[in-house]
Amino acid sequence: MPGIAVALALLAIVGGSLAALIATVPPDLGAILADRYLHHVLLFTSLQAGLSSLLSVGIALPVARALARRGRFPGRSLLLRLFALPMVMPAIVAVFAIVAVYGHGGWLGWLADGLGFDMGGFLYGLTGILIGHVFFNMPFAARALLAALEAVPGESWRLAAQLGMSSGQVFRLIEWPALKGALAGVAGLVFMLCFASFAVTLTLGGGPAWASLEAAIYEALRYDFDLGRAAVLALMQLAISGGLLLALHRVLQPAPVSPGLGRAIERPDVVGRGRAAGDAALLVLAALYVGLPVLAVILSGLAGALGRVLGSGDTWLAAGIGIAIAAGATLLAVLGALALIAGGQRWRRWGAFQFAGSLPLAASPLALGAGLFVLLTRLGGSLDDGLFLVALVNGFMGLPYVLRVVAPAAREVGERHDRLCASLGIAGWRRWRLIDLPLLRRPIGLAAGLVAALSIGDLGAIALFGTPRTATLPLLIYQQLAAYRLDQAAATSLLLIGLAFACFAAVERLLGGPARG
């Protein structure tokens, strides 16, 4: 049965990768584990993940409160949509955006020069990583916390108004109890994302002193050719991520594709001009923090070496390779997820198949990629053959997303039609062809589009397997950033965003069908 086959395949991929890594662990394991650099990397990764989570959530909290307090104001829905952007931006593009604003010769530097003081090169290192992670995660956390506040019944705010609660009392008695639940899940998710962060830490970290675990795996493999150390690092990454997932999976539970946020809340308890000014200032700052880098990408891209980039054969080759990999990844992710869903239907053991589908969340592209890299070299392959592994890794990492989008819809379809199908004798492949696929077309199209866009914009596995002849656009951007060719990076970033969006739209349209009226 395909469902079981896929579940086993997922286990095999993880297991095979683990086995290859374990087999590669050198006999002087003790020496490696005692290596101070390893400790440093581990400590630093945890430190930056912890600080990033604290900052992201710590800033998101007052922002969400301000948004909930302000009710309807002009630009509210625009602001919320802006906040949804960073999560879906290709990581390397966001990195470029941050460099464009905060880096040497960036917008902020230009402003500082104009005002007559020297900012120095503060971007690379811990500061840069924190700025990047907060850019990604604060808006997403703010949206999640706002959703929690919007779930509070309207009567509570009316009571607060009538009882004369101060703003502090409102926080203690109404807002905090409502936010408490969501906070753990959000913070946990942000921590896991920052712990496994690669593009941000690799680029904005600026070097071995500020390397994360993922970046260290990359450096061990690509620069030092030290398979043994890479294996140890990868195993640690997998162990920690796996442990975090196990510890947090109950808390992380409901995180569906974020629905549109509801109408603004009626807040009769909010009075006072001082408070309004404070809220407005905070929201403006948050909007600038997220909006300026986005603006920087668009403007720099348009002003950058667009002509040169578009005229270069390398660019189009990279785009083509990216599309090919994305196609493979999308196919694998969608087929894999559908097979798991079919298995869940057939055996009525949703839990087990859901768990298999969540395995990729415990892995990270570099760690997994390292294991597959080792397997590849053992089997005598070369880096050029590695591209299909990139598609495999990307598909693997995209599978949980497809599952999360399609599985709920599939269960609904099942509940509605299971009995009829059983009584008419429609089962198996025929059932999928006649009933399930047509009804699930839209969510499948949406999920597939997401995976395609994520794969196109991904800088992860490709960093491991890419060669100068087989780069994708994200890798190209990374190389351009490293060579400080910011104008080229700008143009390529703009192209990448366009391509990612085009892929999303094309795949969604292709698989999901035309938009219904």
Partner: protein, 231 residues
């Protein structure tokens, strides 16, 4: 006790206009079809909504521009009157101090209020451990410790069965007489008006369509609008 003079409120494409006079100590039922503006009327008096025009006077004082906390009013809603993570005693205590800093005298008052509504010993219970009727009683107890002269009830007993509803209305009336409260309550059940209210106001299309002593209002011949509503 309560005067609404030319109070105008615009909601979507409906314009509501209320003129109403309620004497101290009265118990007035506000009935009418869905969307007529009954809840809006109460929200305007409480200060949760701001009128576009007109004046609202409570106890002779113009409260039109006062925030809810400054008005001598206590509101009870259909549900969500209590905070789920606070005990019954704490929920009542909010009526004394919204920061819940109660001294011994305060706590004694809370105990007394709960006893008055028949919930002695329920101080430590959480709302989740109470029935619907018990939760509304806790909210009533809070209105006792707040001791504001005007009590606004927005269908607070709608989720209860008929006998229980009458019991709760009797309790409200008893407490109100005891403290000298004026009561305005919204209900979807004309029987509630007949049972508990000395006066009934029929609201339709954002206006007070009929107004009078309950017995007289429900005695034939009924005004056309009221007859249509009652069926």
């Amino acid at each position: 006790m309560l005067e609404l003079r030319g109070v105008v409120f615009r909601y979507q494409d409906m314009e509501m206009r209320f003129d109403l006079d309620v004497a101290a100590g009265e118990c007035v039922a506000v009935i009418g079809p869905s969307g007529a503006g009954k809840s809006t009327l109460l929200a305007l008096v409480a200060g949760f909504e701001k009128p576009a025009a007109g004046r609202i006077l409570v106890a002779g004082r113009d409260v039109t521009s006062d925030p809810p906390a400054a008005r001598p009013v206590t509101s009870l809603f259909q549900e969500h009157n209590l905070f789920a993570h606070l005990t019954a005693a704490e929920n009542v205590g909010l009526g004394i101090d919204p920061g819940l800093r109660l001294d011994l005298a305060g706590r004694a008052k809370v105990g007394e209020a709960l006893a008055h509504v028949g919930l002695s010993g329920f101080e430590g219970r959480l709302p989740g451990q109470l029935s619907g009727g018990e939760r509304q009683r806790v909210a009533l107890a809070r209105s006792l410790v707040r001791n504001r002269p005007l009590l606004l009830l927005d269908e607070p007993f709608a989720a209860l069965g008929p006998a229980q509803r009458r019991e709760m209305l009797d309790l409200v009336n008893a407490l109100a007489r005891d403290r000298g409260f004026t009561v305005l309550f919204v209900s979807h059940q004309p029987d509630d008006a007949r049972h508990a209210a000395g006066r009934t106001v029929f609201v339709q299309d954002g206006r007070v369509a009929c107004d009078g002593p309950t017995a007289q209002l429900f005695a034939p011949p009924l005004p056309k609008a009221l007859a249509e509503y009652l069926g």
